[in-house]
Symmetry: C2
Subunit: 456 residues, 2 copies
Amino acid sequence: MSLIDRILSPRSSSRDGARTLRVGIAGLGTVGAAVVRMIERRSAALAAATGCTVRVTAVSARDAKRDRGIDLSGFTWFDDPVALARSEEVDCVVELVGGSEGAAKEIVEAALAVGKHVVTANKALLAHHGNALAKMAEARGVSLAYEASVAGGIPVIKAIREGLAGNAVSRVYGIMNGTCNYILSRMEAEGLTFEACLKDAQALGYAEADPTFDVEGFDTAHKLAILTSLVFGVEIDVEGVSVEGISAIQPLDLTMADELGYRIKLLGVAQATEAGIEQRVHPTMVPKATAIAQVMGVTNAVTIDADAVGELTLIGPGAGGDATASAVVADIADVAAGLVRPTFGKPVARLAAPRRVEMQRHEGGYYVRLTVHDRTGVAAGVATRMAEREISIESIVQRRSAKAASIDPHGLSRQPVPLVLITYAATEGNIRAALDAIAADGLLAEAPQLIRIERE
Amino acid sequence: MSLIDRILSPRSSSRDGARTLRVGIAGLGTVGAAVVRMIERRSAALAAATGCTVRVTAVSARDAKRDRGIDLSGFTWFDDPVALARSEEVDCVVELVGGSEGAAKEIVEAALAVGKHVVTANKALLAHHGNALAKMAEARGVSLAYEASVAGGIPVIKAIREGLAGNAVSRVYGIMNGTCNYILSRMEAEGLTFEACLKDAQALGYAEADPTFDVEGFDTAHKLAILTSLVFGVEIDVEGVSVEGISAIQPLDLTMADELGYRIKLLGVAQATEAGIEQRVHPTMVPKATAIAQVMGVTNAVTIDADAVGELTLIGPGAGGDATASAVVADIADVAAGLVRPTFGKPVARLAAPRRVEMQRHEGGYYVRLTVHDRTGVAAGVATRMAEREISIESIVQRRSAKAASIDPHGLSRQPVPLVLITYAATEGNIRAALDAIAADGLLAEAPQLIRIERE
């Protein structure tokens, strides 16, 4: 059965002439419970909007006895989520188990294999197995929907796939991890260290006990890989994402950013270049006046540069039970309305193979913070090495700590001092080569800090 | 044929087993020409995304001979756009003629009457005849799509109707007129008068020769009426929109706004209250730190307050040929994919009758700028009248012009001076009654300036 035939005959059961979409939910954590409540609360509105009654019929979770504040008595309980995925009483399987392997993968594969629609919030699963799963969905003519997997409650997948159907996109970038944006916002507002803000984020429930996945950028990389595939029509290539987290950002970097007219955000950026598609996650200097620079706290934002609309920015909640459930239910509503679109915007066979671009080839402006020995001629030495690599410098700022200045106003004791440079567009390869030369010259007291600048 | 049956059998012609959607375009101005080019440029992508070939087959415009930079030789030319709307070689009619009456209305009615899908960018037509047209579309089971009619290239209709299907919305507000936002941005940045900025906007092509429709808020009112219907599931009631433009805003208001932590934007606001749905267009003080306050120049932005996602803001281009064409082509792609949704989110018979709320009942904070005689006790007199109406004052600022201060530092010559108040939430009725009393007391040298404050 072709994709189009499937659009014309959605797999939902019919009773009394009206259609019903029977939803099975695997995973009843915060999001799962919110989805159950939302489908009940919005029952009439969903039916009016889609012409189809949406009804939860089956649920599965690890602990049948836990009180989730919802009445499960009307649903069939499955201890085994894979059995739920195969159940005859389910038309659409909602996977909220999480993780790229194990149960989540088995559930989704089982559901697609028997031709059921799948709605998932699982970015790790999509990032690692999206190509194979999209193929399965396409073969069966069913939906594999994943609005909730990127930027939580922001309908960014729908905006790109459908709202920008007439556009070729040249770049997509965004703040897609609330934990990192919360930490950077606090560091900036209060002059605190990364470690102090991380602790607060953990106390407030914004960060996990093991925060590596969030703060080192891997969560953003998963989301970016999904967006890249959709935006550029290429197979998902999460291994091709260059990833750098925010743990090395120091309060001084935020102070300098502020002085120079920037804010620091952890961005995921996918960009079409002549050499291929750059996929990169890194702390980024963004001009203060841009919409994305205003996004503070746990809020997410995605900006899309498209040939016809120009710049489109979507700002909203990136996490939370209700916000994530909102995206899940929007996907369910599309299934209920009979909408089946190719998972990544086009048939899998027509997705291009990814063409990776090494970060060395990335071209852009750079913020370079050096910790240099306070000697005459250091700035000149640094500038010379930059010039040798054809790197033009937009500004250069030398700072002396208040303490050093008071103890030793002439720098005779040679305390290391920060030297900050903003460069015009240069390749990462040239910047790194210049920094290597500067280090070899013995000018540096510490490893250099390098932050990429992203302009509008 | 029911709506659902129509979803299952989209009206598009089939050749060689693959589907083709034949598009007829009425109106070949900037937007129409951009649509023709975009469909050609994105032909392969649209087919891949929708499973349907999208092809322009017919066009109509006033002047067949005008050079539009596009080759029309492959299309059937219609001198009469109504004949195009009824043509057997068109499945989907794109109405880009404009205006709420006359040709545009005839084209859309003719197309819907014979069961053709309609895509339009015409906010005036929707605002004035949306209910009747939605009924016609529903009776024939076809799409009446209008993404381009609100906020140009921003896919806000799709985001609300589909992306927020799981949400109840309590408020939607936005900057939906680029002309007004351009003028206010320039007035703020350069301290210029409304008249000076309007002239520049006209010279740059951002404002019409007769700017009334834009600057007095009517354009925004049309767009707001459409959003209100979609968001709250009520019949369109453009007559129920309270409208106030920006022509009375003075440079001093922008200066005071800045000092008090606000920017002034022309907002359209639709808000659910206990008494009904407020629909209002007026210059508005928005806190500087909000996303919408950052939106400068001709850019548009819409914020939606929804129960599950919280706050969602979409920012992008509100006008321009390519941006508007982007929204038109997105609608065409939905039709090509076989998606038919109820025009205003639910069947017409289930749209609620509008329940208007008089502006007198509006409750919110107010910026009140009085021009008072510079006498002792004036501020006390003003505050007393406010207190009588139970209006609490958050701040009060008295200004003396530099000129007056230098000539007459003690105010003995009694030159009128500005007195600015920011109130806590109060009803418009009470504010106006207090101002009447203040005027009756003989304290005012000029009519008062009243600007509503919209908080997050």
